[in-house]
């Protein structure tokens, strides 16, 4: 059975409670964890090496930062070996197209998929989150829903969903609505900063400070996508779920699941 994915919306806490990073380390074996942090997406690997060495330092047995900034490094035996003995891998933020171009299809990519099939944790934040699925967002207009959103193939750890990150912070729901209007087969996942989905089997759990917005156009009653990309899209009957920590989601049935004791009303939460 394949391992767990931790898909982080960027901006995860790295110095305080570290709820999201702590979960990554725990899933990788806690005090026994051997984490490899991959900096392929970033152009400032030295900064991120220092950041994640410190952030993961007391949470794992071993933290190895690998820049993997070239295809040569991605095909290097040392990279493949480091991934082969890792219990968890964490992709930093940066530019997801760099992960596709530098890491994609390399020996390290093959080794990572093999390790993932054996059950290790694969985690990533921001660009490292976008690339998790078979289709990833590359960029495009964030404001008005148009066809300007651009996608490309990701590393394919999960299929049937597309991840957008820094979601609330950058107001990206128009972009995600555009995407699911064009490709209703895909479920849109908008992940806020310091928030993550932990994917295991066909379900995911929400952790962290913000929310995960699920946009489901599968039951849309009509869709209109202008050919030019200039005009606004139309989309009726899309379903939206806003899920904070305490909620899970069943991908196979596209249904949210409450995992913590539900609080139906404000009064209930107040204990009134």
């Amino acid at each position: 059975m394949a391992g767990t994915l931790v898909i982080v919306g960027g901006g995860e806490d790295r110095t305080g409670d570290r709820t999201v990073l702590r979960r990554v380390a725990e899933l990788a074996g806690g005090a026994e964890a051997r984490l490899v942090v991959l900096g392929t997406a970033t152009t400032v690997p030295d900064d991120l090496r220092a950041t994640y060495d410190k952030a993961f330092g007391d949470l794992a047995a071993e933290v190895t930062f690998l820049p993997v900034a070239t295809r040569e490094e991605a095909n290097a035996a040392s990279t493949v070996e480091a991934i082969g003995r890792a219990t968890g891998v964490f992709f930093t933020g940066g530019d997801q197209s760099r992960i596709a171009a530098v890491f994609g299809g390399s020996d390290a990519d093959t080794a990572l998929h093999a390790a993932w099939e054996r059950g290790i944790v694969v985690a990533g934040t921001s660009a490292g989150a976008a690339m998790m699925s078979t289709t990833m967002i590359l960029g495009g207009g964030e404001q008005v829903p148009t066809t300007s959103v651009r996608t490309g193939p990701g590393l394919g750890f999960v299929s049937g969903l597309v991840v957008d990150m820094h979601f609330a912070e950058r107001g990206r729901i128009a972009r995600l609505l555009s995407l699911v209007a064009m490709f209703p087969h895909e479920l849109g996942l908008g992940i806020d900063e310091d928030t993550a989905v932990v994917v295991s089997g066909s379900a995911f759990e929400v952790i962290g400070a913000g929310t995960v917005t699920v946009v489901d156009a599968g039951r849309a009653t009509s869709v209109r996508v202008p050919a030019s990309g200039d005009g606004p899209i139309a989309l009726t009957g899309a379903v939206v779920h806003v899920l904070p920590s305490g909620y899970a989601f069943e991908l196979a049935t596209r249904e949210p699941v409450i995992t913590e004791a539900p609080v139906g009303t404000r009064a209930r939460e107040r204990g009134e």
Copy 2:
């Protein structure tokens, strides 16, 4: 039967095709229209007087700009008379709480509701749009869905819906989702700039360049609203419609309606 409402998301074109303002003038009688532009919301009435005198100049028979900046002016006989003989009234943008505080409950307000019941057009943009309904948004966090959105009573030309404006441009869907999570009785209407809803009877039509996003939590399957306002809300099963020009919406049944020849697919629109 009451008149028509034109609720504009702000930033309507005032110098080019003027699709939205043209519709306001047409509904008010076109070449026979007597428009009163009310500048209560703004702190720069002179600028807006010049703007709207010019924008409406060749579209209506008569355009009268009234600042109505104080309750004294709102209760003045001359204001009441101007509204009484208008075939259409247009509220400028600015601060919707000024409309509530300065215009609300005044003789001019009473005269306007009477004129509206006789069938005149009541239009407003931005702040002038927000105040149209029985509940209006006053402000509050636009990013993460929390309970920080603040509301107050508007002028009550329409009930059961809450308008947010500059919607795509300012990325306000989180705010609107918060609002309908707290008050699922209300339908959330997010109106983009240079876009409007024309409300007539129990339905509205979308006009202009952008889209109207309808957020319907009426069929939500669960809602969690933290009492503190700090934590994120949860909302599952909300329905979203993104409606450009060519779409209408039936408020009574909460169902979108395609009014122009529908275009089901991208291929269809391309004529393939």
